[in-house]
């Protein structure tokens, strides 16, 4: 079928596909218009499907005891094809939204898989984890009220440009060992315990600001939200964490204490594959103002 910007998209005709690196919580995964394709995690000879066979709690216990770091692998094109084929029987339009092409081969697998299918749009979010999760969550909200293809794609573009994205890791060790450190490498060797606030820029991990001390980092995250939003229209916020719910709570309280119209519409945990690079103790803030 022909793709036109004026195509009407709603829950009856449109599906969203994500990969497991969107780190979406169960209640969103259960959405009938959403399908998740898992990446894989390898602990030695054991292979797990991210979020399916291994949940965050179990993962962090294993990570602590592991002698060697786990490795990860993208879904195959075949796995995407199976889902695309199944979904195309029910839906006219499929938007397959994935973590940054510069961080994983997942986007390539999906792009390869869509060959031969009509109606499939593969999107490189240029981000990862719940930053992609929040995008998918917002796209589902657009389907709720009905939208057009043109509006839908424009939202994705605006999200890529404008969405607030900031995260704090306890250590850069895992990012470095996993080879995903990007431009954040300049602080990796520091002997002082610097907490870099990281962001995604151009699809890779970059340093936003360096601070020392937990509290200062949290306050810097609050300031970041204030700098990137105005009072008035609602700010859709996602707060994520990697096995550190207390920090997530503290951040949520700081965000809600601002004069912005805060709607914390999504809370989630960092899954095993992202956790392999983020390590334990991550806390993340993603948002977009309507």
């Amino acid at each position: 079928m022909k793709e036109d910007p004026s195509d009407v998209l709603d829950r009856s005709n449109t599906a969203i596909v994500v990969d497991s690196c969107a780190d979406l919580p169960d209640e969103v995964i259960a959405d009938p218009n959403l399908t998740m394709v898992p990446l894989k995690l390898h602990f030695g000879d054991d292979t797990f499907r991210d979020w399916v066979d291994i949940r965050p709690t179990e993962f962090y216990v294993r990570l602590r005891d592991a002698e060697r770091l786990p490795t990860t692998s993208q879904p195959s094109a075949g796995e995407f094809q199976t889902e695309y084929r199944r979904l195309r029987e029910r839906f006219d339009h499929i938007f397959s939204v994935h973590l940054s092409d510069r961080l994983s081969g997942t986007f390539s697998s999906a792009t390869l898989a869509k060959e031969g299918f009509a109606g499939i749009t593969v999107v490189d979010s240029e981000m990862a984890s719940l930053a992609v999760g929040l995008l998918a969550h917002r796209l589902l909200a657009l389907l709720d009220r009905g939208t057009t293809r043109g509006e839908f794609l424009a939202y994705i573009d605006r999200y890529r440009r404008e969405a607030g994205r900031l995260f704090l890791l306890d250590t850069l060790e895992y990012l470095q060992k996993g080879g995903r450190i990007g431009k954040a490498s300049s602080v990796a060797g520091s002997l002082l315990h610097i907490k870099p606030l990281l962001t995604f820029s151009d699809g890779i991990v970059d340093t936003y600001k360096k601070v020392r001390g937990e509290r200062k980092a949290m306050v810097a995250m609050q300031e970041y939200l204030l700098e990137h939003t105005q009072p008035g229209s609602p700010v859709r916020v996602c707060i994520g964490h990697g096995d550190s719910p207390d920090r997530a709570e503290e951040l949520a309280a700081l965000i809600q204490a601002t004069d912005r119209t805060i709607d914390i519409c999504l809370r989630g945990e960092v899954g095993a594959v992202i956790g392999t690079y983020a390590g334990q103790g991550a806390v993340a803030l993603f948002f977009i103002q309507e």
Partner: protein
């Protein structure tokens, strides 16, 4: 007697050439230290060469401008001998002595004179070493000399210099083929490498870009090898003996049974001795029978080896040179490691009671070869010199007015090598504003400052340069300093433990703060700074 302007050396000439060499070497000192596996992996070849040249620099600074060539050469030669440290330093001092002979004799500064200076340097250095070993700085100076002797007469000076330097670097590259311990460690000889850095700096000026191949030669050695190649002896011992009719050869014979890496050089009135031994006491008593001892230094090489290995293990992944570089004034090995780990590219030795001059800072700024430079004086008495250096430099320099090293460290947190100098300068200066600093030191005399009665020998606590306490009880002093520092919601305290005898008990006193302030993040590092058992910052 009429003076021939071309004859010999002028003080000005010598100053500019030696300073250029010194800064080149200073900039790559750590690289040289980390290459050091022969004769023992004590990791101080770079430091030793630097201190040797530094001593010449100091002599030249103090020299009258109109000193004659012969006196000048004597002064330089003496400076090198006085400052010579370690094997490499002593050998270098002999090269200097030999090289100066033609200039002392009043020969003009021509290519021919340089050739003969190199020849004398080589011969003097070889003579000084009891059993010359190839694959060391001896080989490097010899092969550079041989290249100089074989160039065609009448070659342009520039080309001549290029050819000699080229031959020297090639020789450095070949050192692992001559000395197995180097090949095993996968490194080139540290002394030879350091010598070429020095010569290149002297020939081309301090501000010239270091050679790419030089950096490539300074690859990190493999750790496995280090663990096997410690010296058989524990103490690196060096000193000067002054007396009459001293005989280097007979004294050397007397010392041979006591150790290795033995060097005895100098004149009949002054000898420099360097030996690795287990019996420094016996060595020194043999020396006192011959004359008066000066500048005695005894280093435990096992400690040096451990420090070097720790440094290699801690080494950060080298980051690509950014847009803006940092020059910082720092003292203390631990402090240097911290500053380096945060991306400070060039460190100038100095601090309390050893303030570098504006000229030294300027040279360091220029050695970065970077158009945008941040300068951290890290001491309130150095800020003016830093500002002066900033004005004099052709690079865009911003002084981040850190009044102490611990404040400078806090500013470094905000440093972003990819941002411009103004952006960095602003961010780092803002970072300084939220830092409270503290210091603990020993009072050197009785006095009354800031309403506090101070007795000599007491521990004195300062917060932001103001004396807040003075007492014999270190625990009390540390607790009082912390109380004054932590009065405004600070949540993180960084403590840098000094290098002196009081440091262990001071560090213990700091640990007690954990009980007093359970919510405080307390980060303790070895700073190794002199004079201050503790430097603290809170933010």
């Amino acid at each position: 007697m009429a003076r021939d302007d071309r004859a010999g050396l002028s003080v000005d000439q010598a100053r500019s050439v030696v300073l250029a060499g010194f800064y080149a070497l200073e900039g790559r000192k750590q690289e040289v230290n980390d290459l050091n596996v022969y004769p023992v992996p004590d990791g101080d070849t770079g430091t030793n060469l630097c201190l040797t040249v530094r001593s010449v620099v100091d002599e030249l600074r103090a020299a009258p401008d109109d000193l004659g060539s012969a006196r000048l050469c004597e002064l330089i030669s003496n400076g090198a001998l006085m400052g010579a440290r370690g094997n490499s330093g002593v050998i270098l001092s002999q090269m200097v002595r030999g090289a100066l002979e033609p200039f002392a004799a009043g020969e003009p500064s021509t290519t021919e004179t340089v050739v003969s200076a190199l020849r004398r340097a080589t011969d003097t250095a070889y003579r000084a070493v009891r059993k010359p070993v190839e694959g060391t700085m001896l080989t490097v100076i010899r092969e550079a000399t041989e290249a100089a002797e074989s160039v065609e007469m009448g070659m342009a000076p520039r080309e001549f210099i290029d050819a000699v330097l080229e031959a020297g670097w090639n020789s450095v590259r070949r050192t692992p083929t001559l000395l197995k311990v180097l090949a095993d460690a996968g490194v080139v000889d540290a002394g030879g490498y350091g010598l070429m850095v020095l010569l290149e700096g002297m020939a081309r000026g301090g501000g010239s870009a270091p050679r790419e191949e030089a950096a490539e030669l300074a690859r990190q050695p493999a750790m496995a090898v280090l663990e096997e190649s410690e010296s058989a002896y524990a103490y690196c011992t060096s000193f000067l003996v002054e007396g009459h009719a001293l005989d280097a050869a007979t004294f050397e014979q007397a010392l041979v049974p006591l150790g290795d890496s033995l060097l005895v050089v100098g004149t009949d009135s002054r000898l420099k001795v360097h030996i690795h031994t287990d019996e420094p006491g016996t060595v020194l008593s043999l020396a006192t029978m011959r004359g008066v001892l000066r500048e005695v230094e005894i280093d435990n090489m096992r400690d040096q080896t451990a420090a070097r290995e720790a440094r290699l293990r801690e080494r950060e992944t080298p980051s690509p040179a950014g847009r803006t570089q940092v020059v910082a004034v720092v003292v203390g090995e631990g402090m240097k490691r911290l500053f380096r780990s945060m991306g400070a590219a060039y460190l100038v030795d100095g601090g309390q009671s050893m303030n570098p001059s504006a000229e030294e800072l300027l040279r360091a700024v220029e050695a970065t070869d970077c158009a945008e430079v941040l300068l951290l004086p890290n001491n309130k008495n150095i800020i003016m010199a830093a500002e002066q250096a900033a004005k004099l430099s052709t690079a865009r320099v911003m002084v981040v007015p850190a009044r102490s090293m611990q404040a400078g460290l806090s500013a470094m947190v905000a440093y972003d090598p990819d941002a411009g100098v103004e952006q960095n300068g602003d961010d780092m200066t803002v970072a300084l504003e939220s830092v409270v600093t503290g210091e603990v030191t020993r009072a050197v005399r009785d006095s009354r400052v800031d309403e506090v009665q101070i007795k000599e020998g007491e521990f004195m606590g300062l917060v932001d340069d103001r004396v807040v306490v003075s007492d014999d009880d270190l625990t009390l002093v540390v607790a009082t300093v912390a109380l004054h520092m932590l009065d405004g919601g600070q949540e993180l305290m960084t403590v840098l433990v000094g290098g002196g005898a009081d440091a262990p008990s001071a560090a213990e006193a700091v640990e007690r703060l954990r009980g007093l302030y359970p919510d405080l993040e307390l980060e303790v590092h070895q700073g190794g700074q002199p004079l201050y058992p503790l430097l603290l910052s809170a933010e």
